[in-house]
């Protein structure tokens, strides 16, 4: 399939406009693929601002475009400063090693990859209801 020049132009435009840009299946609120979900999870932990593009409605034309721009056709794809960083495997590796924090210019989150179970007190626990019969 040939590359749609209009779509390519648009992609290059959003890459210029978003320092951190994620092409993903679904949305950050509702990822449609486990790999995309993993990258969203990392970005959320980094607390960095990022743009996200749902590739599903235009999957095949977009594959052709990213194939041409960065020689990569599978999603998710994370771009920083217009450069392809990688997919889920690379993003997770770079997150764990601290390289991603360096690249994004943020502090490495201290509780990386730890469950936050203890961080929040149990909000369900309300004091027992007291009915005083006086």
């Amino acid at each position: 399939m040939a590359v749609n020049p209009e779509l390519k132009q648009k992609v290059e435009e959003v890459l210029r406009e978003n320092r951190v840009l994620l092409f993903m299946k679904g949305t950050p609120e509702m990822p449609q693929c486990g790999f995309s979900m993993r990258v969203v999870g990392v970005l959320e932990q980094m607390g960095t601002e990022y743009g996200a593009i749902d590739v599903l409605p235009i999957l095949d034309p977009l594959r052709e475009v990213t194939g041409e721009i960065s020689d990569w056709r599978t999603f998710p794809q994370l771009y920083v400063n217009g450069e392809l960083v990688g997919g889920a495997d690379i993003v997770e590796e770079m997150f764990e090693s601290g390289e991603l924090a360096d690249l994004l210019g943020v502090e490495q989150p201290e509780v990386a990859a730890q469950p936050q179970a203890e961080a929040t007190p149990n909000p369900q626990q309300s004091p027992p209801l007291q009915v005083d019969g006086t």
């Binding site: 960065s70 960083v85 990688g86 690379i90």
Partner: protein, 105 residues
């Protein structure tokens, strides 16, 4: 369905001197992970390292014999900076599982 040893061979041929291990992550033969250590990775970004591995197996991806291939790349053993401990000593080589004889199929 892809033959793990064959994929190891394809990658090793494309990257002479590389240590390659391909494992079947799900047991179903179609979700594979290639763990590759190659001297050619020196000085390359991760995405370029992955591109090199992927280029080697592209044909098998295209013809559908590999459905999904996860890639883990590491620099050649002599410069495995990621696996050094805080003192800067290289990690013990026994961190790697013994290769080649895993036949749990």
């Amino acid at each position: 369905m892809a033959d793990l040893a064959e994929i190891e061979r394809i990658i090793a041929e494309a990257l002479p001197g590389a240590e390659v291990e391909v494992v079947d992550e799900t047991g179903g033969g179609d979700h594979l992970r290639a763990i590759v250590r190659a001297p050619q990775f020196e000085g390359k970004s991760r995405i370029d390292q992955h591109r090199m591995v992927r280029a080697a197996v592209q044909e098998r991806m295209d013809d559908g014999s590999i459905h999904a291939l996860s890639i883990s790349t590491k620099p050649a053993a002599s410069s495995a900076s990621r696996e050094q401990d805080a003192t800067g000593r290289p990690a013990k080589p026994d961190a790697d599982p013994p290769g080649g004889d895993s036949s749990s199929r």
